[in-house]
């Protein structure tokens, strides 16, 4: 299956994920690179927002794509590639950070915030949100970010986190409650 742009002058013939996946499974490194280029930026955004800093972004991405390359043949639905990559990245991220007693979720992020908001009151509110998010456990924060920030549906979050739908709902609700309490107390 090939997607063809309507304008002949654009002239690019872009294979879809299904074609590239089949080629990559057959050993075509070039096809795998195309898949990587298509999804790396999106995945970098997700990982960055989940990790809250840039320090290990490249490492997590590398591990996630290496895992994906090794088990690409197990992917049943090519249309679900992006969600599948997110699931792998979430697993990798949790494996890295779960054992750590403390890491600053907003490390690096706060350094970059000042220029993006001119209204000091709005800035203060968002800063409080960062502070609160930093206190929420990873297991609660991940579903909340995937759902609220990334806009994933609840079933997608459940799939990405490898937990049941009921658990996702419970964790997101728990995170919401903690955020509200934190913002109220601030």
């Amino acid at each position: 299956m090939v997607a063809r742009p309507s304008s002949p002058s654009m002239a690019a013939v872009v294979p879809d994920d299904g074609v590239l996946i089949a080629q990559a499974i057959a050993g075509d490194d070039r096809a795998f690179s195309s898949l990587y280029k298509r999804h790396a930026r999106y995945l970098a955004g997700v990982v960055y927002r989940l990790a809250g800093n840039d320090s290990e972004l490249e490492d997590v991405l590398q591990e996630a794509f290496c895992d994906a390359a090794a088990s690409l043949s197990s992917l049943r639905d090519p249309a679900g590639l992006r969600a599948w990559l997110v699931r792998i990245a979430v697993r990798r991220l949790h494996a890295r950070f779960r054992g750590r007693r403390r890491w600053r979720w907003l490390l690096g992020a706060t350094e970059r915030l000042a220029p993006t908001i001119s209204d000091p009151r709005a800035r203060q509110r968002v800063d409080q949100l960062y502070e609160v998010l930093d206190t929420i456990p990873l297991d609660l924060r991940t579903p909340w970010i995937l759902h609220v920030i990334e806009g994933q549906t609840l079933p997608e979050v459940a799939d990405a986190c490898g937990i049941s739908l009921a658990t996702v709902k419970r964790r997101i609700a728990d995170a919401e409650a903690r955020i509200r309490r934190g913002l109220h107390a601030a």
Binding site: A11, A12, V13, V14, P15, D29, R30, F32, S33, S34, Y36, K37, A40, R41, A44, G45, V47, Y48, R49, G52, D54, L57, E58, L61, Q62, F65, C66, A69, A70, A109, R112, L113, T116, I117, A122, R125, V126, L129, Y130, V148, I149, I179, R180, L183
Partner: protein, 344 residues
Amino acid sequence: MLPDDIAQLRKDLEPPWNDLREQRVLGRIQEARRAGRRRRAMRLAAAASSVVVAVAACMALLLARGGSRGGSGHLVATSSVPRQDGGQRIALADGSQALLVRDAQIRVSEQTPERVHIAQGTGEVRYDVRPDPAREFVVTAPGVMVRVRGTIFAVAVTADRVEVRVERGRVEVDDGTRMRELAAGESLGIPSRGARVGDEARPEAPAEAPTPAAAVAPPAGRPTFERMLAEADQARAEGRQDDAARALTSALAAFPRDARVPGALFSLGKVERARQRFEASAMAFDRCWRSAPNGPLAQDALAEGAGSWARAGRSDAAKADAARYLERWPDGIESVRMQALSVR
């Protein structure tokens, strides 16, 4: 919590991601996958029977014979002969020679049938390069890159200056800001940027034959490839294309055998294009795909190179690259654009 807060959070948390980082991670992924394949291959090899060992020995013997003819793509031999005047003559396996005046220092960091790279740190060296259109011969001195196909030229490095003199043929001299071509009888003096580049080009040892397993790890205190790429990354992000080009050129000169060289060359091609130096851009892309013809960037580099050659007004070179592309990837992503370039 207001939707505005969420929107702001989403906006704040855009990752500092760009092409260079994307390529860097891709290079690491490919390297990790290659390492995995090597490990699997080693496990298989360990389990093989004595019959397989005997066959492998035969194949190794055949390969060794092939290598001695210089056609295998691996490193070839270099010999060093002292001269009566106290200098030294380095004879490369392709027939080229480097005549070192006393105290001159060079390091042959790459020597394959496709490419020879010599890093010259100090002193004067006269290079007699045997003509070979299929082989690129590059000499890097502090802040300067000299590229030839077949000619005789000399490079003299002093504390504050690099001088290139051409005796026969033509050479291209690139100082990171612009590229110039010198013909026989011409010379060019360039202020040395030793503080930035000289350290990288400084040889780690007096001239000697390279070994296939030559280490690329820098001595303590020298900038790492990673740091130089990060500098280029930062410069690009801030729109300082000249600084980005300089950092990338320095990184490539200092670590010509690093596994990330193709990625750096690809970035250099893009940076040079942003600087409107289309010919330099095309050459960087060409070096990129030649350095890893089966690598993940080869297809894109060939297509980008063809585009840059076209913008440089070199339709012959653009057609050649486009033809190469279509030959290898007739149904590739850029095949239609390459077909258009190939008939211009």
